[in-house]
Each structure stands twice: as C-alpha cells, then as structure tokens.
Assembly symmetry: C2
Homo-oligomer: 336 residues x 2
Amino acid sequence: MAEATAKGACSPPTKKQRTDDCSDAVDSTTDQGCVGDRDPHFLTSFKDFEVVRVLNNDEERKSVVVECQIKGREGVAVAQLQKLPFNAQKLGDILSSGTTLKTLFQNDIYYNKTALVPPDLNEMKATVIYPAEKKHILRYEKQPSSFIQETPRLFREVTKRFIETSSFSKEWIYNILDHKKEVDRIVFEDPDPDIGFILVPDLKWTGEQMEDLYLQAIVRRRDITCLRELDASHLPLLRNVLEKGSTAIKEKYGIPAHKLRVYLHYLPSFYHLHVHFSALSFEAPGTWAGKAHLLSSVISNIETCSDHYQKVTLPYTLKDNTPLSAMFKDHGYFSE
Amino acid sequence: MAEATAKGACSPPTKKQRTDDCSDAVDSTTDQGCVGDRDPHFLTSFKDFEVVRVLNNDEERKSVVVECQIKGREGVAVAQLQKLPFNAQKLGDILSSGTTLKTLFQNDIYYNKTALVPPDLNEMKATVIYPAEKKHILRYEKQPSSFIQETPRLFREVTKRFIETSSFSKEWIYNILDHKKEVDRIVFEDPDPDIGFILVPDLKWTGEQMEDLYLQAIVRRRDITCLRELDASHLPLLRNVLEKGSTAIKEKYGIPAHKLRVYLHYLPSFYHLHVHFSALSFEAPGTWAGKAHLLSSVISNIETCSDHYQKVTLPYTLKDNTPLSAMFKDHGYFSE
C-alpha cells in the first residue's frame, strides 16, 4: 500500500528538473523543497534505499555516512546515521525488563552481555540529503591528513606565502574589537592597546553548562598573525591574556585556573592572534599535540629562548585536500 | 513466571557469604562464579534493576556506567552500557524498510529525522559486575583532573621524588630487551647499546588493521627515565629511533612517515624511555597537548637549546585521585 502510494504520488524528477530547481539552493535556508516533500510517504522509512558505498565510518563517535541510491529515483542520496549519547532521564526505562540480555561470556562476578533495547529507547539521529551533489559527498567523505614538519625555511617559503596570498576577511574580528558586533557577549575586556584583549564565548559553546565551557581571547593588536611570530617582546601580552583571562573565568563561571586548558592553535583557523580557553573536562576540538600549543608552554619556551618559535620545527597535521597541502606538494615536500 | 523462577532458584546471598566467597576473586580469571550464575534466569534482562546513580556518562563515546540495586538481592551492581560502532556489513539491513523515520525538521534537500532501528540491528554492549565492591565503583566513577604547571623546581621537589620513591617494576621491559619474552612480537631491533631500541606492537593494537596501527619503541639504555632528562647528548638516540622506527613501519606495514604520529608521553606510564608510533588516522589514547610530545618537536627543541627540557615548564593533566596529585597537594601546589 505505502509503496504504491509513494510511487504514484511523486514521479522521479528528471536530471534537468533537479539541476534547474535545486542546484543553487544547496546552501539556502528557504523552506521550499524540490523533491520528496510533496510526497507524504517519502522518507518515512529507509525503504528502497540501497547502499552504494560508505563515505565515513567514525567508530569512536559511532556515526556513519553512506552514499545511497533510492530505487525508482534518479541521483544519489547521502545518509548519515549517528548513535546518540545516553539520556540520563531515560536510564530507568532502559534498565528494565524491556531490555533483554544475551550472554557473551561470564567470569566470576563479571557478566558480559549484548543488550537488545526497545527502538524508541535507543533512537538514532538520521540526516538525509536528497538529491545529493558531488560537493555533499566531498564534504562528508573521510579526508586523509598528513603530518607536515614545518621548518623555519618551509614556513618562509610555503606557509607564509599561503597566509599572505590567501584572502582571509578579518572584518568580523574588527567588528568585535570595535564594539560594532557581539557587544552583549563580551565576558571580559582589557582596553590596553598593546597587551589588551576581548574575551568572548566561542560559537561552539551554548554557554549553558560548565562541562563544555569554551571561550576565546582576541588580542587588540592587529599586527600578530600566529604562533610563528611570537617572541620575548610579546611576553607581557601573553602573560596578561593568561592571567586576566583565567581570573575572569574564575570570577564569572567559578572554574579555577588549574581546571582550564588554555592554548593557541597552529595552524590557526584565522590569522589574527587569539587564545582558546576550554574546560579541562571538555575534549574540545583540536586539543591534540600537533595542533594545540598550551599557552603556559609557549610563555615558558619564549622565556627560555626569545626566538624559540622562529627557530624550531613545528609539526602539524594538514588535510590532504587543502590549498596549503597542494602548495607543500608543489614545493616537493612529499617527494622528499 | 520468569520472576517466580528467578526468585525461587536463587536466594539473595548474605553479606558474610559474599565477602568470604568473592572479595579476593575480583581480579581472578577463574570460571567459578559465586552468585547468580547458579540461576539460569539471572540477567537475561534488566528486570528488577533500579538506578542508584550515574557514575560516568561519556557523551562523546556514547557509553554510560550506572550503580544499581537489584530488587530482592543484597549489595549493588555496576552496569555499563556502550553503544557499538556501525558494522559496515549490516548497513544494508539497517537502511531498509525495517527502520522507520520520524521527521524533526526539513529544509530544502536536507531531511532531519530520528530513526527507530530494530533492536537486533542496534545492539549495545552491556557489562554487569555483581556483587560490586567499593573499588569497582571507584574504578568506573568519573575522576576529575587538574593541570599541573611543572616548573623545573617542582620537578625536583615533587615529581622526581615520586619517581624515585615509587616502586615501578621494570622486569617486563628488561624481559623484552633481553629476549626472554615477546621475541616473536619484535617488528624491528637495533642492537646498538647507546642508540639501539626494540620496536614492538602496543598491547592495545590487534595488529590486524592499519587504521589503528600502534607500536612502541623501547630504548636499550636503562638510565633514561623520561622527557625531563633528555638533552643534546641524546640527539643521536632520538634521531635513530625516529628514522629507523619510521623506516621499519614503512617496510613492514606500508605506512609512510608523514602518516605517522611519533611521540613521547609526559608523564609516561612507566619510567624507562619509550616512544609511541601510531597511525595518524587513529585517535590513540593520550595524544592531546599536555600529554603527548611529538618526537620531531622534542628533537628540534633540543637542537635549538640543549637543556631545553631541564629549563622549561611542562604542563600536564593529572587525575586528582592519584598519589602524585596528593604529593602536589601536600607541597601546597593547589593553594598557591
């Protein structure tokens, strides 16, 4: 019944239709769908889905992205399935007679089981893009990375050139520093033109719970792009950000300095010096070695050797499909 | 029916019985259970379980550990539930008419849904410890950590004393170096007494797939405990481990050097110098800044300043319930 209705109500779109109607709407936020949503039975289940290939299987986070074909429809779909965190409110329902257990093995007081949980207590999140274009597939496909061992020479010959020739707009940063935007989000501000900064919540933090506290300090000076440029002349600035930033977080959120992770990214996502503050309990994105540089280490390294960051090799991971990676390749880096 | 049988077949153990029969068997590997396994209906479901409190809810990895009481039985149980990674072989079954979808919202070509998946295609892993003792609860309970900013002085006055006074047995390391154990696991060996090392797979790696490749190099010299002791005199050793270790992995597993993460831990888990090699695609445990020190950085830092690691502050995260944390507390660290 459902099958007949679904097929009857919505004939497959032709390639021409889809391209004309939808290709420019990929990033729009209009509510006008072009396929499927005229059919009330489309996507009430995964009926007629056929797996083409797995684009990414994240075993750590328990999510998978699959390229699919849908029987009777043109083009491809991208389907993402994500297992959800446990909801503490529902644990009483899960730990009940409705959850049956099968023994894997038992040893003394240790029981190893598989648990079959009623579907409504074990929902997943599903996201489907249909019709999907090449760019959707590229966005979700697992991208390999490589380690770059950036010597001072490679910085000058490749990375610095990349920073100078790429057009990164810094308007949004200057809007914050000039009080044109996000004024109500400012947690702390030091107006000093040399060592001052503005502390604002990171966009990834909802601001609601302290477990995933995440803020960033944007320095007032507009002439420092990144870690590579820091030397002893910047120590007053760096110490000021560490001390006043930590104190402001202690006063506003009650989290002491030794429960904070304070770090710079190298490479950063934008080239105006900024410092991340996150709760130690939170595994914030980009806290691994080869990306995060703890500010206390940076200060100590510069105290020990003023031009430390102009002299050392800085290793970092870089996605293979990025423009900078292509520049390293052109430079002969990977054939060394 | 099941309820009556379960209760009839196995009367609750008394406190005395449990302590006598089981308390020493916690870490044993015998097959003799002491409770429950005489009752064929015990733990065929979570019937009669009552949540006492959540010990740890890992939202990133989708696992939860709960302290429970079981109606009609003495003592407490610890139950761990873990959502499992997607099995690529079963995706065809999951993406079928058996999985129903409920709409959260839809925008253009993007469909946001919750998915109800048949229980046998969405199994969890369940581990139950019953009867559980205080130490089981301590082991699973989320332990807060703090950042230690270890100055050279704090190293001398606290950490070094901790290393010297704690009794870490190194017999298992010497067994490997002396070819008494794990000889068949050796991937590469350099017999040089000064710069030589043995490369073996880490116990956490099954050795089956390259995605989570993980090995470690154990240096032959027995007089170097950790990162703090390294200076220019160790550069030949460090360069040798980096170069020959990477080459051996390339030859045996086909993974080139720029797809490897090569690092030391500080603090390490044992105090005999060793280096970790893991696949870049693998988020190995302990790769965050404040734990992992990339070997190429370590070499570069020492090249720039011979006694770098004797002079700098080394920040690291430390669990609050460890003996070393207690020593820092006694030293007045947290009251500064």
